[in-house]
Symmetry: C2
Subunit: 216 residues, 2 copies
């Protein structure tokens, strides 16, 4: 599949590298065409790089791995025409570090960033996922032994199936992929971040995750 | 131990009953002295009942099991003199249902309810715990097989040790009790509620919990 990954930070490069290793044609996009991290990543992996618009334009599926507070601007730069009808996998978290630790979670219009992005790009098919864990675990769930979960939120059932398939190719088993329902459920996963950051301090390093356990 | 439980809803009665069964002298308190649920509970269990002040007055340890939006008022009714120097176990969640489902989490002064209560009653020793699960699991963790967690947040280390001991008497194993640090970490557990409610919809009934799993 042709995939555009928006964001050239650690999360974006980790996801992009995994996707290349799985045989996808990946272009990572940044604010500028000459981003040094992106160029280095492309040279090392054989992927492509360019602007946000370059990454989204030819893609069949787009991943938003930008920082949550700049995601709306990044998608605007990518362009509504380049997102129309496409699955938009949103892995970002709208953390506001302006007052130091702990960051607060920005809740646009009282909801989630994912809903804000969906509202701004109504013809994209937004699926929120993977935003509840560190990037190494995203692409290699077996780092953590036993059962643990990744969540899905989205209004488009077919888009969620596509994303569940992609997660499966990363190594997530069906019983680990937990569909929380429509996109408003992203409020729940985005608001997990304050607890995640405290857990990181209490039990770090960052390669931990949560498992939902039910009564026997 | 003499324990006052503020709140005569399902959570308060469940905790109070468990504490009676463990041999504690328990008084449950409500806004009025003649609360019918409280009187029935007392008749059934041999515990006592009365106003919030009645419950707190003779207690060595006080449990706040009132609804989060009325907790400050309940503690004011209990009286600062009756809370001074005591461990105050806060199991409440500040959920605002005024706009229906999903409720929003009230974050007093940008922080947690637990910190707001501590600030209002600086001589109480507030420990936030048990607010991340349904009341049946609180008092009987073995309902859920395998590893799952209860969290502790508080500024007073000795108070956290007392509460950890109480949790141990409920059946929580030491490796299940996860100390998140100072009381500001209660922001993390209070903000878990939106995800908890979505999980309840996705995997309910309510007797589930989360387990923090680390890399091997």
């Amino acid at each position: 599949m042709k995939i555009g990954v928006l964001g050239t930070g650690e999360v974006g490069r980790r996801l992009a590298s995994k996707l290349v290793s799985l045989g996808h044609e990946v272009v990572i996009g940044s604010r500028t065409a000459d981003n040094a991290d992106a160029a280095r990543w492309a040279a090392e992996t054989g992927g492509g790089h360019g602007t946000f618009a370059d990454a989204a334009q030819g893609a069949e599926l787009v991943v938003n791995a930008t920082g949550g507070l700049v995601s709306l601007a990044a998608l605007e730069a990518a362009g509504a025409d380049n997102l129309r009808g496409k699955v938009l996998v949103d892995v970002s978290n709208p953390l506001d570090w302006s007052h130091g630790f702990p960051p607060s979670v920005a809740t646009p219009d009282g909801g989630s960033l994912a809903e804000q992005l969906q509202k701004a790009f109504p013809e994209a098919r937004v699926v929120k996922t993977l935003n509840t864990m560190t990037n190494t675990v995203m692409v290699e769930p077996s780092l953590i032994p036993g059962h643990h979960n990744v969540f899905l939120s989205g209004d488009d059932e077919e888009a969620k199936r596509v994303v569940a398939g992609l997660l499966g190719s990363f190594g997530w088993e069906p019983d680990q992929i937990l569909d929380l329902g429509d996109l408003s459920s992203a409020r729940g996963t985005e608001l997990l971040m304050p607890l995640w950051l405290r857990l990181y301090q209490a039990v770090g390093p960052a390669d931990f995750n949560i498992s939902v356990r039910q009564a026997g």
